[in-house]
């Protein structure tokens, strides 16, 4: 397997700390830690390779890049933080003698308020850069609002009902005092939108979707949004879906049953983790508030004192610095861990939805089969039609199953990677927080080693 350079933002190397890179392992390029992850992934039996019959070879490479790509994209915010442009990272890659295997890069930024007579909404700038031949240009800039993202995801679901598509951030729900236009809310949403687009862009099949291309390239999406399956056919779909929902699938293969169980459990756990993390953030915020009142009291006391004022001010200073470190740590929780957990909570729902759809497809086939078997058919022509339809549905079931299985494995790898990275970076940040506070207090102790008498005349 020819694995050359992987696109990697150099600023993210700090996350690679725990991995031990063996340069001899993976080919000519100088070691990049994500390299190793990708290689180890290739060595573990990735079922998608065996099953994915319709997956092209270039996409195979792409699929194995997913986990590192997931790192890249779920930390997209960090990219913007470090101010690195895709350009730089591509150049860097070329300098390393590699050819980027990711050929489509997207960013979502510059949220701006857009005011019309009827409503006000936020518009985001979406930048796309690509080397793909099927794109006319290598760079695109468009402006999209949240509804446009909703449209895109809907279209992707339509086209690939059993693929696991990354969730979008939720619609605005009046939760406490969070304003729809608050900076925090917009920023959180922006990051989630970016993650959604990145993950979609690196998905072997979804990235080829025509709607994605249109989303990234067309200036005016409204005309295109109006096109789409007719109202009547949509009606037909939902009626059929309802009918089958009543019936239910009969012979669900065991592996999908296992997936269903997993999805349910996983959803539970993610929900719990999400709640706990939110609670920690809330408590930490309240702690910070009290702490900010505590430190100054030492300073105030110092004003009453003579000899004692110096150590008192010292303590006040320490508390102040620790407060700032607490803010930093809190920021990390809010910006890295919380969003990741929340997104995987939403993913859990996607898993369940996808499994349900697969069941529907199978149920449809079973229904057709039953109709065939009942032989309550009069004309011979009708029998033939039924047989054709049944065969078509059987194919549909098979392709849905294989798409789902392949994507399930891919998703699992990405999930483990993303969650592990988020947890590692949180633990790291927390450790860092305590180390910084430790240093603050030790400095104070050192300052107290000199008896005050010696400092006076």
């Amino acid at each position: 397997m020819l694995f050359t350079g992987i696109s990697l933002f150099s600023g993210l190397s700090f996350l690679c700390g725990p991995f031990h890179c063996g340069p001899s392992l993976c080919g000519p390029s100088p070691c990049s830690c994500l390299f190793l992850i990708a290689c180890s992934l290739s060595s573990c039996q990735n079922p998608s390779l065996a099953v994915g019959s319709s997956v092209s070879s270039s996409v195979v490479q792409g699929s194995l890049v997913h986990s590192p790509g997931a790192l890249v994209r779920s930390s997209g915010s960090m990219v913007n933080q470090y101010g690195l442009e895709e350009e730089e990272e591509e150049e860097e890659e070329e300098a390393r003698g590699g050819v980027p295997t990711r050929d489509l890069f997207v960013t979502v930024d510059h949220p701006e308020s857009h005011v019309t007579a009827i409503e006000t909404f936020i518009v985001y700038r979406v930048l796309a850069r690509t080397t793909r031949g099927d794109f006319d240009s290598s760079e695109y800039e468009v402006h999209r609002r949240y509804q446009d993202f909703l449209w895109l995801r809907g279209k992707l679901e339509e086209g690939h009902p059993t693929l696991i598509i990354h969730p979008l951030p939720e619609k605005f729900v009046m939760k406490g005092l969070v304003e729809r236009f608050s900076e925090d809310f917009i920023e959180t949403r922006r990051r989630a939108l970016q993650t959604f687009l990145s993950k979609t862009a690196e998905h072997p099949m979804l990235s080829r979707s025509p709607q994605l291309k249109v989303f990234l390239t067309e200036q005016d999406l409204t005309a295109i949004k109006k096109q789409g399956p007719s109202f009547l056919s949509r009606m037909g779909d939902s009626v059929r879906a309802a009918a089958i929902a009543v019936r239910g699938v009969r012979a669900r293969p065991q592996e999908f049953g296992a997936m269903q169980d997993y999805a349910d459990e996983f959803s539970c756990k993610m929900s719990a983790l999400d709640k706990v993390t939110q609670r920690i953030i809330k408590e930490q915020n309240e702690y910070l508030e009290e702490l900010s009142q505590y430190g100054p009291l030492y300073s105030q006391w110092a004003e009453l004192e003579a000899d004692l004022s110096e150590p008192l001010r010292g303590v006040a200073g320490c508390l102040d610095l620790c407060g700032r470190e607490t803010e930093e740590q809190l920021r990390h929780l809010t910006e890295v861990l919380q969003p990741t957990l929340h997104q995987y909570l939403l993913c859990a729902d996607t898993l369940k939805t996808v499994l349900r759809r697969r069941d529907h497809i199978q149920a449809e086939f079973e229904a057709k089969n039953d109709a065939l078997a009942s032989s309550a058919v009069s004309k011979k022509g009708d029998l033939e039609t039924l047989k054709e339809e049944a065969a078509g549905l059987e194919e549909r079931v098979e392709s849905a199953n294989s798409a789902l299985k392949g994507d399930w494995a891919r998703w699992g790898d990405a999930m483990r990677y993303d969650l592990r990275e988020a947890l590692v970076s949180t633990a790291d940040k927390n450790q860092d927080y305590y180390e910084k506070c430790l240093a603050v207090w030790e400095t104070f102790l050192l300052s107290q080693k000199t008896p005050p008498g010696q400092e006076e005349d």
Binding site: E283, Y287, L312, G314, A427, A439
Partner: protein, 437 residues
């Protein structure tokens, strides 16, 4: 993790070798070392409030009540472990300590009398019980009472008091002895004290400053303790919620093949982290107790200031008294009535009194003036003595306060460092586990 903490660590160990001790031990060490056996009393004996016990009995209104008593153990100083106790090893309850302290306050008004530990639990954060019978509260009170006794015993004047020695050594009869001193009669009534404070004209500036300082210090420390309790409360919340991570990771690990082990062990570290806050906050209570002691010391300072005001007021009154009597004498001798008086009017109306009458009145007045002059001299003397002695006391107190509070702040820093070290340990362990996921 590879910071140069190790270096500074050993430095700290050299300077403050209490770092690894549990707080009660370190507090006792601090008391016993700081005391340095200055007084004759402490050269002879070691004082320990060794135990506490619950008792039941009928109180003054014949109701059944439960209270705690504390064992006072006196042993010869520097004796081996098996040193025989000196005296009866009496059991005393809090109210008896209060009685002792009140006696000392009245008998030595120029001394900054050490305070007792708080009567009721104040500045509590939610997990801590405010119940006086709670074992943690009793334990902290035991230490506070011991601290009180040692402070009294290390005071050059107070340590010589017989009643104090009796308190330490005599089970029976102490109460009668202290009441027999009649100190309650000598006590200045609150009314007298208050009116002196309001009416005194020329209190010494150092004392007014001292009073202001005590008030401000009292306010500053109260405020600090209150907010500290809130901070402790919040910190408790943050740590405890992490315990939930432990549970969820454990459950989650059951459905994951690759991540199972990593999650499971990470979960254990989260439990450790959550549990660690209990010890951390318990240590901090000792720091809070040290601050509280000085909070209560401000009351003792105010007492001294009030006594000064009282004596000064009495001096001013004596001076006024003398002045008015002298004026009366002048009026009598010169016959000039400067100020309208009934005597003057009646003498105008009904005729002057006889020279004999005047003579005797003058003589009486002269005697009275003599007495007044003596009184003024005495009061002046008393005032000056009091100021001299109490000012020395205040100076000594200030030095002690600066020294001890600085130590307290240092020990607070050490506590924070220990807390940080635990945090570093837990999260670096957790990180390792997460990496194995």
């Amino acid at each position: 993790m590879n910071r140069t903490m190790a270096d500074s660590d050993s430095e700290e160990a050299a300077v403050l070798d209490n770092t690894d001790l549990t707080s009660p031990e370190s507090e006792n060490n601090m008391i016993n070392t700081m005391v340095e056996r200055e007084t004759a009393l402490l050269k002879k004996i070691d004082i320990n409030v060794a135990e506490s016990e619950k008792r039941s009995g009928k109180n003054t209104v014949n109701m059944q009540e439960t209270y705690t008593v504390y064992l006072i153990e006196i042993r010869p100083a520097n004796a081996a472990e098996g040193g025989l106790p000196v005296g009866d090893s009496p059991w005393r309850r809090y109210s008896e300590f209060e009685l002792l302290r009140t006696y000392l306050l009245v008998t030595y008004p120029f001394v900054v009398i050490p305070p007792l530990p708080e009567k009721r639990a104040e500045f509590v954060w939610h997990k801590l019980s405010a119940d006086n019978l709670d074992p943690d509260f009793v334990e902290r009170r035991r230490l506070g009472l011991e601290n009180f006794l040692i402070r009294v015993a290390s005071h050059s004047v107070l340590s010589k008091d017989k009643i104090f020695y009796q308190f330490l050594t005599e089970e029976k009869g102490w109460r009668e002895a202290v009441l027999e001193t009649g100190f309650q009669d000598k006590a200045d009534s609150r009314l007298k004290s208050l009116s002196a404070t309001l009416r005194v004209k020329n209190p010494d500036k150092s004392f007014t400053d001292l009073k202001q300082y005590s008030d401000e210090l009292n306010s500053a420390i109260s405020h600090l303790l209150r907010v500290r309790a809130k901070v402790a409360d919040r910190m408790y919340g943050v740590y405890k919620v992490h315990g939930n991570y432990g549970r969820i990771f454990s459950e989650w690990s059951a459905i994951e093949k690759e991540m199972g082990d990593g999650l499971q062990s990470a979960g254990h570290h989260m439990d450790t982290h959550s549990a660690s806050v209990d010890d951390i906050l318990e240590e901090e209570e000792h720091y809070a107790d040290q601050l509280k002691e000085y909070l209560f010391y401000t009351d003792a300072l105010r007492s001294v200031c009030r006594k000064h005001e009282l004596i000064q007021y009495e001096l001013e009154m004596a001076v006024l008294d003398l002045a008015s009597k002298k004026q009366q004498r002048e009026e009598l001798t010169t016959g000039a009535v400067r100020v309208f008086s009934l005597k003057g009017m009646s003498s105008k109306l009904f005729g002057q009194e006889s020279p004999e009458q005047r003579e005797s009145r003058l003589a009486a007045l002269q005697q009275s003036i003599q007495a007044s002059e003596d009184a003024v001299l005495d009061k002046n003397q008393e005032c000056r003595e009091f100021m001299r002695m109490s000012w020395e006391e205040v100076k000594r107190f200030k030095e002690q306060k600066d020294r001890e509070l600085r130590e307290a702040l240092i020990s607070y820093a050490i506590m924070q460092i220990s807390m940080c070290k635990k945090g570093i340990q837990v999260w670096s362990n957790a990180k390792e586990c997460f990496n194995k996921m």
